[in-house]
Structures are given as C-alpha cells and as structure tokens.
C-alpha cells in the first residue's frame, strides 16, 4: 500500500501551494461532499464482512431467526460457533487448516528455489536460445489453469501419486514458475554489473556470486513473490478441488466451499468457518502490505 504523509487539505486560494491533480479534481465536489462519498463507499465495502463477523459470535438460534443488525439492541455473545467448526467429529476445521499450511509452504519454497536459479541464468549468463526460452516462459504466465487440469490429473494417476500432497505441490509450483522467474529476473537484472564484475575479479564462481552478492539483494523480490504465492495457494479453490478431493489432503477453502454447498443455511458454522479461513491472509496482508501489493501488481495476470 502506498502510504503518503497525511496532508490536511488546504483551501484552493493559498498562493503557491502545490496540489495534486486528484486533490484539485476533488474540489469540484467540495470537501464535505467528497468526504461523505468516501465514507459511503467505505461503509458499503466494509458492511458485508462486518455483518458476518458479528454473526459468527451470535448464538445459532439468534443468527437463524433475526438479522445481525439486531445484535446492537440485543447483544448475545458466544464462542460456540468457533468451537463447533473445530469439532473433530464434524467440520474439523483444524485438520483442513493444517492441510492448507502443508500445501502452501512447499508450494512457495519449491518455485522460489527453482526460479532463482533460472532467473540468474537469464539475467547474467550468455547461452544460445536465451531470448526464445525467456519469451516462451513469459508467455506461459497467461495459460489458464483450466487448460492443464485434466491431463495433469491423468498424469498423476499414472504416476501413482493421485490424492497425495504431491499433486498440489507440483501443480502449484509449475503454475508459479513463469511469474517467479519473471519477477526475480527483473530484479536481478537491476543489480549493477560492476558488483558482479568485482566479485568475478575476486575469483568468485557462479555459485558464490549467487549466494554472496545476489541473494542478500534479492530479499524484497523473494518476499514479494513469496507472499503473493502463499496467499494465492492459500486462497485457491480450483486446483484443490481438482486434485485434492479427499478430506485428508484438502485445504480449508475446499471444506468451506463444501459447507456452503451442503449446509448452505448453517450460518453459525459458515460465518465462523469463513473467519477462520481468512485469518491467515488478513494477518499477512496487515503485516506485510508493502510486499503484498508489489507481488500482487506483478502477478495480476497469473492463473
């Protein structure tokens, strides 16, 4: 998120005061109206989430018979809904939560490792076919996942790894590689050639250059891609539904989606379940906003 120093809006007549185009455009609506419009949008955007959040703390009977807005005139708070979604005999969300973590970590680390190598080769080595290969990999970014799913499923069955975490790790890694290589390559390319040359003069090989010179500089790019990929995998439904049908390996999104399909009116479970599932992404977002936005902008055509 781009944070700017908060500036109190000055009156337009102050001579010599620099204003941005947006500030100037906003004055058409004169400040109070602009503020009101902003507040209306902000409320509209927040209210749906807020309503479900309030509901997740209301007793089942109350949720099913009255609207969540009555909570403020008749507040009853309970944690039973959260206890219910973690009940090992029914929704068992803890297991799916663990599955999500088990799926996501390798699905981030594997493409990061492999893409770093490839990005280094593309940025700092000369070899025949370099441009062609790079363009092909760049273009693969746009392949919709749908196109790959059925042949991949067949392939996994033939390999004997159907219904294991490997299907998800391998698929997510393969889907992530084009974007990872692209982001890391752009970043490595920016490293001044003099740094690399200096290391070479000192007798460092490719391995030493990569670890001692590039890796420390690469951290922001690795973080941006890592966070983007982590949330992408955490929030994914399509790939998981296709390869991870059985509850032993399916992530929290699949369980939440199933719940919405089979028990679409069990709002006490759906509300609590939804908030458990968004806990991780929202935390990541709040703590690592800057990297998150950078990764998001770079990865916007993925998938």
């Amino acid at each position: 998120m781009t944070t700017s120093t908060p500036v109190v809006i000055e009156s337009p007549d102050v001579p010599g005061k620099k204003v941005s185009a947006a500030t100037a455009a906003k004055r058409k609506l004169t400040s109070p109206w602009a503020s009101l419009a902003a507040i209306v949008i902000a409320v509209l955007w927040t209210l749906p989430t807020f309503g479900l959040l309030v509901s997740s703390f209301r007793p089942e009977r109350a949720i099913k018979t009255t609207g969540w807005w009555t909570f403020f005139s008749d507040p009853k708070v309970t944690f039973e809904n959260y206890e219910a979604v973690f009940d090992p005999d029914s929704i068992n969300l803890a297991d799916f939560f663990l599955n999500s973590i088990v799926i996501a970590l390798p699905a981030v680390i594997i493409p990061l490792c492999l893409a770093s190598l490839a990005a280094y080769a593309f940025a700092w080595m000369r070899f025949p076919g370099k441009n062609f290969l790079f363009i092909v990999i760049f273009a693969l970014q746009i392949v919709p996942l749908q196109v790959t799913l059925i042949p991949l499923l067949t392939l996994y069955v033939d390999m004997g790894i159907a219904n294991t975490f490997w299907t998800l790790w391998l698929s997510h890694s393969a889907f992530a590689l084009p974007l990872a290589i692209y982001i890391l390559h752009n970043f490595i390319k920016e490293v001044p050639a003099s740094l690399i040359e200096a290391a070479r003069m000192d007798g460092a090989g490719h391995v030493a250059i990569f670890f001692r010179v590039l890796l420390p500089l690469l951290t922001p790019a690795l973080a941006a891609f890592g966070i983007f990929q982590f949330l992408w995998v955490w929030n994914d439904l399509l790939v998981s539904l296709t390869f991870a049908g059985s509850p032993e390996i399916s992530p929290i999104t699949v369980q939440l989606s199933n719940l919405s399909g089979t028990r679409g009116t069990a709002w006490h479970l759906l509300s609590a379940g939804a908030f458990v599932s968004i806990l991780v992404p929202v935390t990541v977002f709040l703590l690592l906003q800057r990297y998150f936005v950078r990764g998001l902008l770079a990865g916007s055509v993925k998938g």
Partner: protein, 325 residues
Amino acid sequence: MFTTASTASDKLLQMFAAILLFAAVVGVILFIAGRFTGKRDPLVAYLYLTPVIIMLSVGLLYPGLRTIYESFFDAAGNTFIGIDNYTTIIGDAEQRTVLRNTAFWVLLTPFLATGVGLLYAILVDKARVESFAKALIFLPMSISFVAASVIWKFMYEYRPDQGNVKQIGLINQIIVWLGGKPVQLLIESPLNTFLLILVMIWIQAGFAMTVLSAAIKAIPDDIVEAARLDGVTPWGMFRFVTLPAIRPAVVVVLTTIAIGTLKVFDIVQTMTGGRFDTSVIANEFYSQSFRSANQGLGAALAVVLFILVIPIVVYNIRQLRRSEA
C-alpha cells in the same frame, strides 16, 4: 513418501521431505556448477534451467496441448468428433446462457470496479486517514473468493415472506423496510448473475484503487500547478490533466480485471454451483469435466477460455510496455 498422508505428523514429515528433496536438487545443481570454472556459461546456464524446463513442459506445456487435442474428441475421449464440441458451445441453448453470462461478467466487472476504485482513490487522496481508508477497500482483495462468496451469500440470504419470519440477509431486510416483498436473490435469473458480479466488483475495486492511486501520485506537480494557474476548473483538471496522465494505468487495470473475471470460478461455484442459469465458462468447464463426465466439452470450454484471454493479455502487455517506456 509418495502416499496419502493422513495423520498430522505424517503430513508435516512429508512436507519437510518435499522441501528437502527440492533443496537437494538445487544443491546438486549448484555443486556441479561449482565444478565448472572459467568461461563455460552455456553449460551452467542449461543446468540451472533444467528443473524449470522439465516442470514447465510437464506441468503446463504438455497438458495445454493435450487439452487442445482432447477438445476434438467425444465425452469419453475415445472418438474423434471434429469441431462438434465447439459448435455445441455456440449452438446449445444451455451453453449460450453460459456465454451470455460470461459476457455480462467481462463487460461489467472491469468498468464498474475501475470506476469505484478510481473515484475512491481521488476522494481519499491526501486525506488524513488515507492509508486506513485504503486498507478498508483493499482488504477483500486478500481473502479467498470462497470466503468472499460466503460473506455475500449471507447478504443475499432469503427468508419466505410469511407470518413472523424475519429476514436475516441485509439486502432483503432493506427491501422489506422499503415496503417491498423479499426476493429469492440468488435464484431469480438474470438478477442472480448481476449479484454474483457485484461480489467480483467488491473484490477487484481495491486492486483498481491501489494501482490508480499510485498513478495519480506520480503525476508531476508542475503540470498540475500550471493547469491550476491557467484557471482550470476541478472537472477540467480531472478530464484534461488527471485522466490523460493515468490513462495507461487505467487500461492496465481494466484489462487485468477482465482477465481475472474471465477465469472466475470460485464465486459461481460457492454461491450457486452454476445452477439457476448463473454458470460461466470457467465454471462450466469444471461441471462438464468433473460432474457430467463430458471430457471433450470440458476441454473445448477450457480452450475457449484460453482463446478469449489471449487478445486481452496481448493488449495488456503492450500497454504495460508503453507505460514503462
């Protein structure tokens, strides 16, 4: 190691094993690369690229080509039927609804999400609580489409209009407060499709806002100042200064959202499962491939999706290049 892990410890063990395995692959490659000294760049480069080339060939290239091939076969994937699957997509009444819905999604979502995002970016620009105000709109972008769908399904919840039954969905409650009768919002077509589109707009507006806000802040101050000294009206400032300056960013945002919208599956799947005439291509692909066991048609739908994405991506990349130059 390659079996279905069922206990928590098994899962974690398998996870670490997988990470170690790939770390070992990288280690071996680096070790071999370290043996090469001097000017043997090409060999080392190909070595570095080997795992990536293998994974992309097996994981993306082969499956993609295979799907194109299979789209010319029948439901079971045995008999070659030429372009029949494609004529079905264009001719069949049910598939036509799918195409119509997809068109609604792709035409409405980018413009409305970008419109809201741009308006909001301008409204909160340099406000005292700008970063907080932006975080509110951006938050939906970080959660899963599934969670977003559950949130909105609750908004659209319907309770029959009888006796003492009270509405628990906010939209229907507002309708009742205004004196109307509650509506089965997710069942009535084509209203339901527009309500699903609203969820996507809710998610994507934050993306549009973030990109456009950055573009607005990048406009040089002296241009704005010059226009102001010329006595340009605020509307004129927006129309002739802001908008031309951020045009490339607007185009990128529009196309990016359009691409994301074409591939939208989770929202339809979670909210209606594609029933009540709400299916779109990405969802229909899933239904045909996995529910109706019509592999050929599923493959053809995936190919159609791919074909629709290409022109938008090409346009997007060209604009990106131009705005970077």
